[in-house]
Symmetry: C2
Subunit: 429 residues, 2 copies
């Protein structure tokens, strides 16, 4: 409902399991990003159960308000998949067997040496006159129905890999060509911050929010930090406005110096990986309370073996001694959650692996194990780069899961800063 | 929209960032589960941007259709938080400063040794006559407005920890007492399966779906496997129907023997943890392609140090030799992704830690690194229990992230089965 003339559509996601929270609606997140980036605005999102009347009402409402709707889910072969017949009825079309789709489905099973189960045949029945998008990742094809009186309905299955494949392989291009004359540019800019609370951040920049107009400023807090996002949509994107946006962004950046870790949507683990790769440095980790979470983040992206050597999950004191060479005396005198232990852990893992860079995390993620001196949320993080080793104490709030996430993020941020200072080469805000 | 007389409400989640996919709507998942478990049915969920007209239309629509709506988001202190004034206007109420709320907010900052920022004062302004729920986890209170002509609107902030605290500390009880006379029992039963595809699973049980009526059967595929969920809502919950549901469940269980890992909502990592704790066994892990993901899952729950010792992230060949004692000859002859390496890894990590149980994962998560003999998705998993060691080859499909998730799940399943056979004590389907 932004005041622009950008193409607008609504999203309808279908499935009892989504309403009940049995599964998270990851498709909406992914589609939201892709559509926004393409300059297509999402006016509204509706989630309905596997119920014919509810599905029909949601799609009709979306078409009435916005003239275009993209649906996910309910195209599977089982009895609770209702979307195809409902939409066929709404558009007054018959369901007809599409031989080409049937061949695709049979081939798909055939490639794995299997007969097509009889029930998958229904997935080849498509509303007459529908545009069919072949599914490279699954059996249900994507479908589009477009009619002057009603508007555009696009149907995608609910399986995330299939949504992505169908959207990128055909649906996005189809939407682009339908709206070719109206697609404009959406300028967005983002500053990703960490180590500062939302309200403290807001106080620093509140006067800039009005100054940013016509760009809209949003503050997006998450467990990893707060993202500040500026958006300038087409109607406002007059000449010179991009450079004004850049100017405003520079002001935000100045006010938030020391907290900004990215000026784009990338994850901090990816940026740290790039910095390591850029300098040809290997990294090893020693994780206690995070127990693998940091290593998982560092290896979520492909090619991480360029800079990631491996590490140790030193959950027990014995593991800290055995693999990292932490001294019994250090553990006895300072405890497992201490500066001395964090430093011995990081030194130990670098020594064992021969890696010039290391990170060690030791803390109390809770809910048990806290004390008045070291309450739940107390975390020591040690890092090592060619310039030396250091450790920092954090007191994180939140649940066990959140404390672990915050600790991993904080460790990455310490590394990023150390590598930047160290290297004089990799830009850090 | 189920044919029951259960209390019904709609959920409205508010925020441009949700539509654009900048953040996932985790609150909807959590609230969906909690409300469903309490016997409150969610008819519809709408997500709108930070726009007064859109917020008002969404809430009005929900009230008109369902008479009750629970909103999250837009209660923060910043300029893009619009929910409070919009709902006050909808109910024709003024916003008034609530002194008790103001004291709560001041105290919250005070406990951290901080002055309350001026902007947080707006969070103490509540619609006249609203019921206020004190927020134990943040600054924005929960609010409820209830009026015969309009219906019930409950407002919660968008921060997940605050939603949870407010809901569990007051809002759920408030909803329960409002609907006391209509709250019935919802019988649900679930079988969580893994290692079988959705359509293969459906073929095994399709005739049971009709037999299960009036219970509804849903199939929920995810990267961890397929959940089969039976739901019997109040209107159908006549005498004897619970036992009929149990009988139907037994039939499903029989057909799906070998694939069911849980008969409740618990995660497989938690079940494996319980099995280990029950038998007093410690576990160590050696992870290559999953790089910490399995250890993270095993330690997501509190108390995991009862059974989890730690492990090694042996991302490089050098790490496999150094920490796990994998022989150079084995790596040269069979490769890092092989039965022999998986077995040496698991033996090595058990030996190093003195743990009787171990698991090792080595594979090709992609997108690079595959070959025709060992394509992306090839994963060898080795496990060890007091009864001995074994390894199994998997060929997983999907993206890098999915292959890693599937490998961790498969490793846990192998452990679960081995511990059950081994122990003759822990029930496995």
């Amino acid at each position: 409902m932004m005041s622009t003339d950008l193409p607008v559509l609504e999203i309808v996601t279908i499935g009892d399991e989504l309403l009940r929270g049995d599964v998270a609606d990851g498709n909406s997140v992914w589609l939201g990003r892709r559509l926004s980036a393409a300059g297509i605005s999402i006016a509204l999102r509706t989630t309905v159960g596997d119920d014919d009347a509810a599905i029909r009402a949601a799609i009709e409402g979306a078409l009435r308000r916005s003239g275009a709707v993209l649906c996910t889910g309910g195209l599977g072969p089982t009895s609770d998949d209702r979307t195809r017949p409902v939409v066929a009825a709404l558009y007054g079309r018959e369901l007809r067997l599409d031989e080409r789709v049937l061949v695709d489905i049979r081939d798909r099973f055939g490639r794995r040496g299997l007969e097509m189960p009889v029930i998958n045949r229904t997935q080849a029945e498509v509303p007459a006159g529908a545009r069919v998008f072949r599914n490279p990742a699954g059996t249900a094809p994507g479908l589009a129905l477009d009619e002057p009186g009603l508007g555009l309905t696009v149907l995608l299955p609910g399986v995330p890999t299939e949504v992505r494949a169908l959207f990128d392989d055909g649906v996005l291009e189809f939407l682009r060509s339908r709206w070719r004359d109206r697609l404009g540019t959406v300028h967005t800019a983002v500053l990703r911050t960490t180590d500062i609370a939302e309200s403290a951040l807001y106080e620093r920049v509140r006067d800039l929010v009005a100054l940013a107009a016509p760009a809209r400023v949003a503050f997006l807090p998450s467990v990893s930090g707060v993202d500040v996002r500026l958006t300038l949509a087409r109607a406002d994107a007059a000449e010179g406005s991009r450079s004004r946006l850049d100017g405003t962004l520079a002001l935000f950046r100045e006010r938030l110096a020391g907290f900004v870790y990215a000026s784009d949507d990338r994850d901090l683990a990816e940026l740290v990986g790039d910095a390591l790769r850029h300098r040809g440095l290997m990294l090893a980790v020693a994780e206690s309370c995070t127990a693998g979470l940091l290593a998982k983040r560092l290896t979520d992206g492909s090619g991480s073996s360029d800079y990631f050597d491996g590490g140790v999950i030193s959950y027990s004191d014995a593991a800290k001694q055995r693999w990292l060479g932490v001294r019994q005396e250090t553990l006895a005198r300072h405890g497992a959650v201490s500066e001395a232990t964090a430093l011995e852990m990081v030194t130990g893992v670098c020594h064992a692996t021969g890696s010039p860079c290391g990170v060690a995390i030791t803390g109390i993620a809770g809910p048990g194990g806290g004390s008045s001196a070291k309450p739940v949320g107390t975390v020591w993080i040690g890092i090592r780069t060619p310039a030396g080793a250091r450790a920092r104490l954090f007191r994180f709030g939140g649940s066990r899961i959140e404390i672990r996430e915050r600790a991993a993020q904080a460790a990455l941020r310490m590394l990023q800063l150390a590598l930047a200072v160290d290297g004089h080469s990799h830009a850090v805000e």
